[in-house]
Assembly symmetry: C2
Homo-oligomer: 435 residues x 2
């Protein structure tokens, strides 16, 4: 099999297209009973024994050698030193990205509102930031400074009083890029811990590590399992699945560009999903040829190849409108509209995490510095959820302030409905306020 054949070809005109599409999209997250039980035990231990449990797990799992809990904290001086020692081009690039992410995030900030009715009753909604938020940053190869910015900046823009980062430091090695990004983003405190023990510490607090209201950020299966288990005690962001890109192209973009855009998601990992839709059958073959030609040049060729052959597809559609319908079914994390009139096509799109419009808008610009968040709903969850944003670090409280007149009017209705539901204390509570 040559590379030319190593990506699936589908056609919406095939009778069994929907079945093929569902098979292509199917991805069941592994759920391991042993891991589940181990994470339950870790959480219970941290909850009961606090610092000592976190310290023991960290020394054991991360091969650290902490002797007392305070040593787990990374000082602001350490974060600043990491920032100060960054090469200038990297520092400037991170600053440029951080500024753009901040400007965009500011537009998302929810504001309180209220209105007064004719009888003087005031109704409204009060918006407040979370008190504290926790940001999980993975150790090792998946530790991206861009992710630190994307998770931390919205929290700070929301006005979260204290933003606490946890990042494992295997064998005591810190990731200087991550610490520098944390400094730039305004992380308030940082701890050199990771895994389920870090999630448990943030959820319940220890003598040293403050409890937070919400935990965000990506992690491995232990971290994801721990986040699910502490949900309710604290808020969590989404549980991220593999990266996805869906490109709709009218056949007039350079096929090498499109091939590289597919690669840019495929290189994340073997489970990543890169799909191209076009109404131009010849163009699909041109892209297949670009893939075959460019793949050998890529540093992560093996990962890309596995991703494209396992979960990728080139799909012939009858029209761009039909492509939009397929996109709405898939509800991709990233959607590129590489077409002549992307704004028109965009009106047909309902389900997508982020929409990249026009031939110049490579998806990767959104990964780093365009401004919108790169933490996006995956695995079709864009059907009902949204990119990470400032709003995830704010909450709303309803406000009701009845005038005497308002309480009289509302009380009469409340009394009728409460008695209809046989809730007579409800009814009498309202009736006391009648004139």
């Amino acid at each position: 099999m040559t590379m030319n054949q190593s990506i699936a070809r589908l056609n919406t005109s095939d009778a069994n297209f929907q079945t093929q599409l569902q098979q292509l999209l199917a991805f069941e997250e592994s759920s391991d009973h042993d891991i589940h039980q181990r994470v339950i035990d870790i959480i219970a231990n941290v909850r009961n024994n606090g610092d000592q449990a976190v310290l023991d797990y960290t020394n054991q799992f991360d091969q650290c050698s902490f002797t007392k809990p305070s040593e787990m904290e990374l000082s602001q001086a350490q974060l600043k030193a990491a920032w100060d020692s960054l090469p200038q081009d990297k520092a400037e690039a991170l600053e440029f990205a951080a500024n753009r992410v901040r400007v965009y995030a500011e537009k998302q900030k929810m504001q309180s509102w209220q209105y007064t009715e004719a009888d003087g009753t005031v109704l409204g909604q009060k918006v407040t930031p979370l008190d504290r938020a926790g940001l999980y940053v993975p150790g090792g190869k998946a530790a991206y400074p861009s992710s630190v910015l994307m998770n931390a900046i919205p929290a700070k823009v929301a006005g979260v009083r204290e933003l606490i980062m946890v990042v494992p430091t295997p064998h005591g090695h810190t990731n200087e890029l991550v610490l520098a990004a944390a400094y730039l983003a305004g992380v308030d405190r940082a701890f050199a811990i990771g895994g389920a023990q870090a999630v448990a510490a943030l959820a319940f607090g220890t003598e040293t590590i403050p409890a937070v209201e919400k935990i965000v950020g990506p992690g491995n299966i232990y971290v994801a399992t721990a986040k699910k288990l502490v949900f309710g005690q604290v808020g969590i962001d989404m549980i991220a699945g593999p990266s996805e890109i869906l490109i709709i192209c009218d056949g007039k973009t350079n096929p090498d560009w499109i091939a590289m855009d597919l690669f840019s998601q495929a290189e994340h990992d073997e489970d990543a999903q890169a799909i191209l839709l076009s109404d131009d059958a010849d163009f699909l073959e041109e892209v297949a040829n670009s893939i075959a030609r460019l793949l050998p040049e890529m540093e992560r060729a093996e990962i890309i190849k596995a991703s494209l052959s396992g979960r990728g597809a080139l799909i012939k559609v009858a029209s761009l409108e039909e492509a939009a319908a397929v996109a709405n079914t898939i509800a991709p994390e990233h959607l590129e509209l590489s077409v002549e009139d992307p704004e028109k096509l965009c009106t047909h799109i309902r389900n997508a995490g982020a929409i990249f419009m026009g031939r110049y808008t490579a998806e990767v610009l959104g990964d780093y510095c365009a401004g919108p968040n790169h933490v996006l709903p995956t695995s079709g969850t864009a059907r009902f959820s949204s990119p990470l944003g400032v709003y995830d670090f704010q909450k709303r409280s309803s406000l009701i302030f009845c005038s005497a007149e308002g309480a009289n009017t509302l009380g009469k209705t409340a009394s009728i409905l409460a008695r209809g539901e046989s809730l007579t204390a409800h009814a009498r509570s309202a009736e006391y306020r009648l004139k």
Copy 2:
């Protein structure tokens, strides 16, 4: 023990107050391994066998006698007939409530926005409604028409194309008030099914029941377990805990009013939590006396008594500001500020589902018809979550439309950062668009 002593008394000046408070608030939801496994089986069966599984479970668990799947649907004509046969006072009260809920909900509707940068690059956020939403309505005594309005109206205001209600009809008996409220609220389709099988049907779809994007509404332990298990496949609202009210009073409200406000939550169920904070010790005793005097008159006296003695408290605080701090720790579902200057006190409140301001604003007005939603975060989750609202039936997609100039500027930064993260396909995808 007389009734006068049957509610706990705490004082913030006691050395062990924080411990006592945490004990008072502690509530672990029961998690039953057998139920968990049974629900997993039900979901798998519905997923594999569709209509037939739903029909079999419904006949078995709800003692229905459906012979074919189409019989499970409640027609629009049935809903309309229920509405048409409502007594006039109830119909008017429901209409009054629905209108107020709708007016308030309209203010919550999120709008799309975008802005254009100097180089022509456009950034924005597109807001769209969910395609379909599912509303679970319990059968039996917990089936409240007010809940139908509170869950359905925000979905319709959001623009959800199809709102599907499920409500069990044990022995084939429909709840006419619920059907009438569904008609009023604009429910599009309704099915006489319930339990985990109804949640599974809504999450995965069957031949007869359409799959939805999000499932909202309260239910028993089977329903709550099923909602948790299908989360990810669909969105869900919160998992509701017992009702809660926290009242802060300066001692100048009629103590009978305050006692009845406490009763109004306590009558929901034995696990409900009703707490009063006051800086006036004498007033706390007056309320205790009102409780003792009024309790024997109440239809649900046994439930109220169990709730107040098991989970209620009268708490003496040093000041109203201290009361606000305690409220922020508790993060109650409902918070009454029954004080002279509630707006001033409200500035100190950060964590509460809904805030009822002033002596006239009985919490029950919010349960039925004030306008704000009565589906609110419980069990301290107001620290990080919000009332149910229109925004729960909308989602956001990020928009990025780069000009050639913009792609050039952003691409340079993206390239530096991508190469810093060793993601060279990312870098090359950006570099293709450089001038």
